[in-house]
Amino acid sequence: MINISKVTKKYGKTIIVDNLSLKINDGTVFGFLGPNGAGKTTTIKMLVGLNKPDTGEIKINKYVASSIQSKQTSGYMPEDPYFYDHLTGYEFLEFCLSLSSDYRSKPQVENSDSSRISSNGIITKMLETVGLSEAKNKMINTYSKGMKQRLGLAQAIIHKPKYIFLDEPLDGLDPIGRNDFKNILRGMKKQGSTIFLNSHILSDVEELCDEIGILNHGKLLYTGKVSEFCKRGELEKRFVELINNKQEGIAN
């Protein structure tokens, strides 16, 4: 379970995340939505241990989010990921896989037919999964934006983490790329992973997510099942209504 408990985060005097509390059960695909500047990226950075909350606590499966134990079971794809220009796609994934100490403790993982595959096999398979086989030996600085997004996802899931945190994973992808990504995420969900994603593409969120949380000015406005929220209309329409009503409330 992902447990965010009364978390507040400030940058200087500005409150970015305001007393946020959220519980996400294992196996859920959770969409974290909000307008620009709502605090979504700040929240996700705290979930993966890049920053610590000023107050409150975040636990991933009993472990504090910033702990090594939590990071061992997590995978993270930042928004608009950048990479090392002078590495190839293959080398970068090799680097990322090596840093996963959970993988190191069992260097050959079980394949679906119980045969063991080496790190080379894992990397090759992952490159195939994200559609980068042909570019594996090319320098990352020659990759297009879509290719970098694919590589970003690959490094986040290559060690088969239990918890996956994705910040705008579908950004910059063409419709074929988005479809491929969604299929990969559905596959991860079937394998039992919990997926926490930020996205502005609400149609994809509606399609993929079981539950959503909506954040605005650091405050959680809604959390619950997508189907419940969308009873009175499409996700995008309901989202805009909710944000505008709240903002009118604040203005009045």
């Binding site: 920053n51 990071k71 993270y76 608009d80 002078h86 990322c96 840093l99």
Partner: protein, 253 residues
């Protein structure tokens, strides 16, 4: 330890694939070869001139390479967000810092070794035999470079590459002037002396690693002196990397 070596290997690959490094190295090698002609202008002291200029050239270009590559080490990772991907994995901050340090140092040492080999070939070619004493100078230079790399890593955790380069250059100058400063301060009186003491002990005394004049005159520096300089260098590097770790931990990524 595994994570440190993995990050070091990655950093080393990134460093040696940077084309600008090869540009600086090419100039360095041209300079070392050019010492042959400069030596021929001297009156019978050509070998001494070649050794003097050769070792000075290796030092100068290794400092340039160090400052250029190391000044943006951590800053680039933060700006380009590659640090997010690394620190979101089960990697401790100190493993990242030490891995970056070792990777950068290894890359720079490789370029120094290339320059040193060319220097040895030039000296051998001019009839000077195998200049084994220069290897002592090389060893101490590596520790001096190690101090520089650690300082550059520290600076790059909180400042821009330009500022890091500037601080490094200032420290280079001060580091080689500390002994002279202290000497003058001691002559000037107790107030000046006590004012200089904190700087003398806190800032890196880089002259401890400079034995080029000694080896050029075919003399060997004392074993005790060399050992003390190495221990001093290791201690200083450890302290600076500890501060770099604290600095990076304080960063809001």
């Amino acid at each position: 330890m595994n994570n440190i070596l993995i990050i070091a290997k990655n950093t080393f690959k990134e460093a040696i694939r940077d084309k600008i490094l090869y540009g600086i190295l090419a100039f360095a090698l041209i300079f070392i070869f050019a010492t042959i002609f400069l030596g021929s202008l001297s009156l019978g002291e050509d070998l001494k001139v070649i050794k003097d200029l050769g070792l000075a050239g290796i030092y100068l270009f290794s400092i340039i390479i160090t400052i250029f590559i190391s000044a943006q080490a951590i800053y680039k990772e933060i700006e380009k967000k590659t640090i997010y991907i690394v620190l979101a994995k089960p990697v401790k901050t100190f493993e990242f810092i030490i891995g970056k340090f070792l990777g950068l140092l290894t890359g720079i040492v490789l370029t120094i070794l290339i320059m040193q080999i060319v220097y040895l070939v030039v000296v051998l070619g001019k009839g000077g035999g195998f200049d084994s004493y220069s290897l002592i100078s090389l060893l101490l230079q590596i520790f001096e470079i190690g101090i520089f790399v650690s300082l550059a890593v520290l600076f790059s955790t909180f400042s821009t590459p330009f500022a890091s380069m500037l601080y490094s250059i200032i420290l280079l100058y001060i580091g080689h002037s500390l002994s002279i400063l202290l000497k003058y301060a001691e002559k000037a009186g107790s107030i000046a002396k006590y004012a200089v003491y904190p700087f003398y002990y806190l800032l890196p005394n880089l002259e401890k690693f400079n034995v080029r004049n000694t080896v050029v005159n075919d003399k060997l520096p004392g074993g005790g002196e060399v050992t003390f300089s190495i221990i001093y260098g290791i201690f200083y590097i450890i302290v600076i990397l500890y501060l770099a770790n604290l600095s990076l931990k304080k960063q809001e990524l």
